[in-house]
Amino acid sequence: MYKILHKESLGTNLHLLEVEAPRIARKAESGQFIILRLKEEAERIPLTIADYSREKGTLTIIFQEVGFSTRELAGCQAGDTILDLVGPLGVPSEIENYGTVVCVGGGVGIAPVYPITRDLKKAGNRVFSIIGARNSGLLFWREKMAEVSDQLFITTDDGSEGRKGFVSDVLKEILDKEKVQRVWAIGPMIMMKVVADTTRPYGVPTIVSLNPIMVDGTGMCGACRVAVGKETKFACVDGPEFDAHLVDFDLAMKRAAFFKDKEQQALAMCKCGGERR
């Protein structure tokens, strides 16, 4: 059992949980994720490690309510426990001093991009960060991101905060002005695809973190397979980070949508608190 120490709302349907998990915190690195299962009947939900404290033995996860399981998780309060928590899974980000880097976080993707940005900064990079969302209510961690960036840009689709437009607009401007060695982009699949298309003509190596449907997270089931270049990779053990220019995003998006109708069925059974009728 893993205790929830702290819960916070970060915006519309956006939640932060700080969870006690000393063994995982001891090993966690940026770019990795955990899988949790709230209770016996629940799904295994993969979530990126947004932050960790080795001293306190805690992990921070941030998630968006998108369907039944995340809604159920949102029903948890500080003091509640999570039945299973496993990790840290996946390959850590390759942090080096590249020179100048750009970190892009879209929506809930701001959470996983934060520790990467922080580590890149610590490693001596000059860091430009861009965070964006549909509207201001979906943005969070502006200060934390600003702290670890040389310069932070904010965009919203509707112009309710920062610049009106997409993260890729700002990214393009930076690429036009600066010699950038590497780009990280984490967010909705479509955003990552657009970022990949933006950096491609500049030939800047670009890393995205994919979030396909997973079951075990240890390379056993193959649910998380993605086409990268000519190869099939398992995102849970080979990733979740991949070379954005080689990822088949169209296929990845189709695979991610596979259980949509089933999820609707589950959602129809649930009251807003995440309980079942």
Binding site: R23, R44, G219, V226, K254
Partner: protein, 461 residues
């Protein structure tokens, strides 16, 4: 043995084989000759005293019968259900030469079930030894090694990556063949022997084997992480949705209880026409599961002929009775999808059989121009698993074989590192429950020898 009616059972997940009644068990046990030199025992990888447990059963002393069984076998109710007895103990039974061998597996199941129903006695705990052993993986290999080491008095901790112990017994083999409650109770017995089972611990991630040895103070490690990496054919369209590995398909169903969706939150989607590629036990399980999940048609697609099918005979028969179709000498070469990226058809090719290959089976040869299209909306790829690479990749100095397996001595389980032992599917590649258990048993023995030597050295100072 009585079984659930085929028409009824293909709509439920209840156990297919119903087990003997006490009368049937008595009659069957009475056939055993109690041979002086019992050949059956030689066919058993964990050396169960077969005539011993059958004689006790014959005398009506079920308690003693169960005790004799458990002396060698920590998981008798599991083995009584899934072991390929027909090619092991029963294949050697003297009565089998002229007629029917004693149904040893069914008797084993009967005795184990009786004991569970009547409350298994608390096992005795030996004098504790001051040595700690870590067991990685809680499949039959790991559980057996752990149970035997605990019986010898060692402090044993099992580390399991998933949230439920049992390995393939829990996530792979379906409820209708091996009820999960049966597995759970046998695992409880291992716990009662003093074994500490820690779930959600991915060795290689949460900690490495070397950290267990150096930082956590374990004196030896047994690796029983199985063959959990699914093989794919790498043919066009294989990543379309609706194409599952058998592991995903079965894990969603068994471990995550997708057949109880939405009471359980994990979904599974099965279309009207399901094709299962392969013809081993895993394929039979997938094909029969598909029917139970509502498929109208479920077909086994296999590139060799009926004779070469690796599944147990009984499972093939059960699948046929339930209506699974067999398309033999056939294999897919490509899949096609609809606009949503969902599989809607597959191109198959027909095969003939040529000369025997290195596996001793006749080699399948594709027939040029024999391609044909099949309408299909769900595919389960069940063409085998290779060893899970997480532990091999993160443990220095372990010699790894061609197929990603850990190289270990068959008799002792010894690896290239003195305090690390390994056994089960991670060493042999996908095999059987009882072979994994045999390997766990032998490794426990050599870990004991290793630790005794170590203890002697320590005493000498």
């Amino acid at each position: 043995m009585p079984v659930q009616d085929a028409q009824a059972r293909k709509n439920n997940f209840h156990e297919v084989a119903l087990g003997y009644t006490p009368e049937m068990a008595g009659e069957e046990a009475a056939r055993c000759l109690n041979c002086k030199n019992p050949q059956c025992v030689k066919g058993c990888p964990v050396e169960v005293d077969i005539p011993g447990f059958i004689q006790a059963l014959k005398e009506g002393d079920l308690k003693r019968s169960a005790r004799v069984l458990k002396e060698k076998n920590n998981l008798p109710a599991v083995c009584g259900r899934v072991c390929p007895q027909e090619s092991q103990c029963e294949a050697r039974c003297i009565l089998g030469i002229k007629g029917e061998p004693v149904a040893i597996g069914r008797l084993e199941r009967f005795v184990a079930d009786w004991e569970r129903a009547s409350g298994a006695p608390q096992p005795e705990r030996p004098v504790p030894k001051n040595k700690k052993v870590a067991v990685i993986g809680s499949g039959p290999a790991g559980l057996t090694a752990a149970g035997d080491l605990a019986k010898m008095g060692y402090q044993v901790t099992v580390f399991e990556a998933l949230h439920t112990p049992g390995g393939v017994l829990m996530y792979g083999i379906p409820e209708f063949r091996l009820p999960k409650e049966v597995v759970r109770q046998e695992i409880d017995y291992i716990r009662k022997l003093g074994v500490d089972i820690q779930v959600n611990q991915v060795v290689g991630k949460t900690f490495t084997v070397d950290e267990l040895l150096q930082k956590e103070g374990y004196d030896a490690v047994f690796i029983g992480t199985g063959a959990g990496l699914p093989n794919f054919m790498n043919i066009p369209g294989e990543n379309l949705t609706g194409i599952y590995s058998a592991n995903e398909f079965l894990t969603r169903t068994n471990l995550m209880k997708a057949y109880l969706f939405p009471k359980y939150s994990t979904p599974i989607k099965v279309g009207r026409r399901v094709a299962v590629i392969g013809a081993g036990n895993v394929a039979m399980d997938a094909a029969r599961t598909a029917l139970r999940l509502g498929a109208e048609e479920s077909s086994i697609i296999y590139r060799r002929s009926a004779e070469e099918m690796p599944a147990r005979h009984e499972e093939i028969e059960h699948a046929k009775e339930e209506g699974v179709r067999f398309m033999l000498l056939t294999s897919p070469v490509a899949y096609t999808g609809d606009e949503n990226g969902h599989v809607k058809g597959m191109t198959c090719q027909r095969f003939s059989l040529g000369e025997p290959d290195e596996s001793g089976r006749r080699r399948p040869v594709p027939i040029p121009g024999s391609e044909f299209e099949l309408e299909i909306d769900t595919v389960v790829v069940a063409i085998g698993q290779t060893p899970n690479p997480l532990v091999p990749r993160t443990t220095e100095g372990l010699v790894i074989g061609k197929h990603g397996n850990i190289v270990a001595d068959e008799e002792s389980g010894a690896t290239s590192r003195p305090n690390i032992f390994a056994g089960g599917d991670i060493v042999t590649g996908a095999a059987t429950v009882i072979l994994a258990m045999g390997a766990g048993k032998r490794a426990a023995r050599s870990i004991d020898e290793y630790l005794k030597r170590k203890l002697r050295r320590e005493v000498k100072g």
